[in-house]
Symmetry: C2
Subunit: 245 residues, 2 copies
């Protein structure tokens, strides 16, 4: 699952300049070209993809992300939830979070990883994993405007639980102040994907060793109602119908 | 899900100096004390844990990890698989991987995150997630000794698929050379955990809004045999019985 990401350069990622509707509505050209040398998948480069049509669905399918940043010269990774709107991803947290302070207007590397299965080969060496991962490099921006913050947070809640935002007790001024939202353009991004069965050495196929794939996926369980819910309150459709992706 | 990790200091993490058996066999003291200021959970500090009895099971339950490192002054995060043996975690990859070159004898931050559920509250602000995460800081060491490499890789394969290593076509000299194994002591590590239902503002409990938890977990699917398996080869118990954790 390791990727190699280094060097520098600046080829354009065309999708990032499109509006959300353009990105959603039609494929754009240039999908096979890495937007920069830094995000180009070098090891097993045939697994690399650079088009929005590949990158966006991975981001939309997995809210868990890892935000990498440098603080006092040392690397840090913070797991958090991301969501996408058009050509940007967003994440949020407490305004008191030092992570969010450290990444504001700073370089970050955000990754999203979906593991789809263990790949079992006839030799240890050819064991592998099926996965879909995205890496985004860039400068994180802190959203300070209250209305922009509200618009982004509404998309976050509604992307996971459609229609929930408008059913909630509205956010108040103090809560907006206590919440920081970060944004990152999908300008320098790549996806790395492996699918399919094991690829063994030719002479190993004659061996009586079971090979194949053990699939993995995120399973959503039945909702657990809060004991303090008002009597007779049924879970809304956005709770019973939660899905990832 | 965000953690705050900064500062410096060096309180001992006693477990890291114990042998694997000691770590597995008996609880050691000092579990409530952070091994360093850098890994101390500051925001929502009641969610922080520093004892091997909390940290090890999280690492053992989730092989997917994120390795954060600094390259040319920029942060990078590479998803890969980790495994634990005693007081260390390990990960591996191609010896040609620049990530592995970049992290050898360098500072890294490795995180493992298990998301257990979405927590739906009566206000957007109190929405949360249930999760178990671990952060490990330290200097990654590259394992160069062939026998040590073999011993570690055997544990990796057998920890996921008990007994599989000895059933495989043995690794050859070229494959050992092409494989790099990294190790990181669990000397500076913390866990952050949230469990349970939503915590709402007192006055919001009277609102007719469904609140509760939507559980999430990694589901393992039925094995998919390689079409090139020899006829009549049944999947071994380590394939039909795969579990995480």
């Amino acid at each position: 699952m390791s990727s190699r990401h280094e060097g520098s350069g600046a080829l354009p990622y065309r999708q990032s300049r499109a509006t959300p509707d353009q990105v959603r509505g039609r494929p754009l050209a240039g999908s096979a070209v890495a937007p920069s040398e830094r995000v180009r998948v070098k090891r097993l480069h045939e697994r690399g993809h650079y088009d929005a049509e590949t990158i966006h669905p991975i981001l939309d399918a997995m809210p868990i992300c890892s935000v990498g940043y440098v603080f006092n010269g040392s690397p840090y990774v913070t797991p958090t939830l991301q969501w996408r709107e058009g050509g940007h991803i967003y994440w949020h947290g407490s305004s008191a979070s030092r992570m969010l302070e450290a990444v504001a207007e700073a370089e970050v590397c955000v990754t999203v990883t979906i593991m789809d299965g263990f790949v079992l080969a006839r030799s240890a060496f050819h064991h592998s994993a099926n996965y879909r991962s995205v890496m985004v490099l860039g400068t994180a921006r802190k959203i300070t405007d209250r209305d922009e913050k509200e618009a982004r947070l509404k998309v976050f809640v509604d992307s996971l639980f459609p229609g929930r935002w408008d059913m909630l007790r509205p956010m108040n001024a103090q809560e907006f102040k206590a919440t920081t939202v970060m944004s990152l353009p999908l300008a320098e991004a790549s996806a790395k994907i492996r699918t399919g069965g094991p690829k063994d050495d030719e002479e190993d196929y004659k061996l009586p060793i079971w090979a194949g794939v053990v699939p993995l996926h995120m399973q959503i369980g039945g909702p657990i109602a809060d004991k303090l819910n008002l009597a007779g309150l049924a879970p809304p459709a956005h709770v019973t119908g939660v899905k990832l992706g």
